[in-house]
């Protein structure tokens, strides 16, 4: 059973009551909320995600609710609650859906230590994964959104999980967050794509979410062997360029994007060094999305 099998009324009712349990990759999330924007966002963006029975063990228990103070009515706020605690200050109610997404990201990297977590996107083609670590502003999400509309499978947009035992990337297949101009770029690049939960005036400007392709969601339990590590950088002028990165240089650069590496101890060091051993690493600059995707496709062809 999937989330889209519920009528909107039933979805609203379940979320407002004991909550809904749905699967995203290796995790089951239990979500409770009465907030209309979250209900709607979930219905549109997570429609293909498997729904699980109430008796199932949930990895994360999340609720988004109104405060019990005056801020429930006056300039209403929303509180993100995880396992009974509220780790963040409240946000304006209009930002409830992005709060759910970023809150869930935080909950995953606060709790999960049986995977190496890299702050990166990952996509798969021909049985191999490309990992795209990138600081904000690099255009990583735009590139990811473009790739998944041209034959690449979405593994993840924000958190790349690498299994400590198998060294494979384990997908989450969650919606991709697009910011500011990226929203229009992707709308034009892939007119059939579904972009929802648009919020203005967040800390990062205007934010919206791209629904993951049904096939990526259907294959959320299929891990992928990593093959490439690519640092993308969007540049509005200039030609496409790329250069190979040395492995030690890659390790040093990757250090900033490693969420839980230091906690893993020597197992983390051994995993990361042997992973980089098997990756082709590049820096990559592009100004045209189509050209960038063609370059990625050539990587697969030459493999």
């Amino acid at each position: 059973m999937k989330i889209s099998d519920l009528t909107p009324a039933r979805l609203r009712e379940r979320l407002a009551g004991d909550g809904l349990k749905f699967q995203t990759g290796p995790f089951v999330v239990r979500l409770q909320t009465s907030l209309a924007t979250v209900v709607e966002g979930l219905g549109i963006l997570y429609g293909e995600f498997p729904l699980l029975p109430d008796e199932e063990f949930a990895d994360f228990h999340i609720s988004l609710r109104l405060p019990r103070t005056l801020r429930r009515w006056i300039r209403p706020q929303v509180i993100y609650s995880y396992n009974g605690e509220s780790p963040f200050p409240p946000l304006p109610c209009t930002q409830a859906f992005p709060f759910f997404e970023t809150g869930l990201n935080w909950s995953i990297y606060s709790e999960v230590f049986n995977y190496l977590i890299i702050h990166a996107a990952a996509v798969e083609r021909g049985g191999h994964a490309a990992i795209l670590p990138a600081p904000p502003g690099s255009g990583k999400s735009t590139l990811t959104a473009g790739l998944i509309h041209r034959g690449w499978r979405l593994l993840t947009d924000e958190l790349t999980l690498v299994s400590l035992s198998t060294k494979r990337v384990v997908p989450l297949a969650r919606p991709i967050s697009l910011k500011n101009q990226a929203i229009d770029i992707i709308q034009q690049f892939a007119p059939s794509s579904v972009i929802a939960a648009k919020c203005c005036n967040t800390a990062k400007g205007t934010v919206a979410y791209l629904r993951p392709p049904a096939e990526s969601v259907a294959r959320m339990l299929e891990p992928s062997i990593p093959r490439w590590l690519i640092y993308p950088q969007f540049s509005s002028n200039g030609d496409l360029s790329f250069s190979a990165l040395g492995k030690a240089a890659t390790f040093s650069r990757l250090a900033d994007g490693l969420v839980n590496y230091t906690v893993l101890g020597s197992a983390g060091f051994d995993l990361l060094t042997s992973l980089i051993d098997e990756l082709d690493c590049y820096e990559f600059t592009y100004s045209d999305l189509g050209e960038a995707i063609a370059w990625f496709d050539r990587l697969v062809e030459c493999d």
Binding site: P26, F57, D59, N83, E111, V112, F113, T262, V263
Partner: protein, 361 residues
């Protein structure tokens, strides 16, 4: 749905039964374990009792994560102790490791699966300034830089303001006694230091076994507000069980030292709640003897009631009784730390600072 901590307490008492738990029970237990800082301990107990079979794989993943976190905390603590040793190389005074740091270095059962990496040390008061300087010379920094905080700690407290290492971010608390001098009980630090035992191969010492138990009791029941009450009781059960099995005259020594260090009252609570919740094998004669340290009614009754509510409350309980109980314990902790003529100006000052900060925001 039973959300109280009963499920967690039952798990601690009977870890071999955990392989029979269903998904919903795990759904509650994993969360309770995390909220009480005890999931690492649950994982260790399951390993010791080989009760992983039949446990759902996603549950095992949480237990594995808890194991990794607990091992990392131990590594961080050991390294911190190594670096403190290096920084205090030229200090000639005794430096006693307290609480978690001692448990880890002695590899006591209480250290198993524990999540804690702050280091607490006890040094003679006359050496405090030298120790502080040595730590600062090696990269530690004061994190409470407000003049009032600095004044408060140095004038009234049993410890320096916490020091944080500039690169590692780890905290060391330097104590010159184990309870605030402004409080009602005054365990003599000279006696603690005199009875301390050297830790072979290091420059550090640790408290004698009875003193270690008394410090834990004082920390939980005299200086603390039991925010992690169940974990405090688990620690106490571990310490009492281990030392009583290791040293034949442990109970006599414990009673003797409790009198000598004025810590009978917190010991009373520690023995009482450890025996009640975790069935620590406290000999009947010791329990009888400890009744002499009990507070008068209604204080004893009230304490039993509010401690029970706080220890057994589930992490998501929000009832009024629980809120009142927590507030009472918080107030009690402050009351015991400071006499009224000091407490009132201190609380006013804290409230004013908070008000100013919110005003600015």
């Amino acid at each position: 749905m039973d959300y109280s901590n009963d499920l967690l307490i039952r798990a601690l008492m009977a870890p071999s039964q955990l392989s029979n738990y269903g998904s919903l029970q795990w759904d509650t237990l994993i969360r309770q374990g995390k909220r009480n800082g005890l999931l690492g301990r649950i994982q260790v107990l399951m390993k010791e009792h080989q009760s992983f079979s039949g446990v759902p794989s996603r549950v095992l993943a949480h237990l594995e994560s808890a194991r990794i976190i607990a091992e990392n905390e131990q590594r961080v603590m050991r390294w911190e102790i190594n670096r403190i040793c290096r920084a205090l190389e030229d200090i000639e005074a005794p430096v006693v490791l307290l609480k978690g740091a001692a448990y880890v270095m002695l590899e006591l059962p209480v250290a198993r699966g524990r999540f804690s990496s702050d280091v607490d040390i006890l040094v003679p008061k006359v050496s405090i300034a030298n120790v502080e300087k040595a730590l600062i010379d090696h990269g530690w920094r004061h994190i409470k830089v407000d003049d009032y905080d600095q004044f408060f700690y140095r004038r009234w407290s049993h410890e320096l303001p916490p020091l944080q290492h500039r690169d590692r971010g780890t905290i060391v608390d330097v104590h010159h006694t184990i309870l605030p001098p402004t409080g009602r009980l005054h365990p003599d630090p000279e006696k603690l230091l005199a009875a301390s035992m050297p830790l072979t191969g290091t420059k550090f010492s640790v408290l004698a076994p009875a003193d270690m138990v008394l410090h834990s009791a004082a920390h939980a029941f005299q200086d603390g507000d039991l925010t992690r009450g169940l974990r405090d009781v688990v620690d106490m059960d571990d310490l009492l069980s281990h030392f009583s099995a290791t040293y034949s005259s442990f109970w006599e020594q414990l009673a003797y030292r409790a009198d000598e260090l004025e810590l009978s009252r917190p010991l009373y609570y520690a023995l009482r709640y450890s025996k009640f919740y975790l069935q620590t094998p406290v000999p009947a004669c010791v329990s009888e003897h400890s009744k002499a340290w009990r507070p008068a009614w209604p204080a004893s009754y009230l304490m039993d009631a509010i401690v029970d509510r706080v220890i057994t409350a589930g992490p998501w309980d929000k009832d009024l009784i629980l809120k009142i109980s927590r507030r009472l314990l918080y107030a009690r902790a402050h009351w015991l730390r400071m006499r009224p003529h000091l407490l009132i100006p201190h609380l006013l000052r804290k409230a004013l600072r908070r008000y100013r900060a919110e005003g600015v925001a």
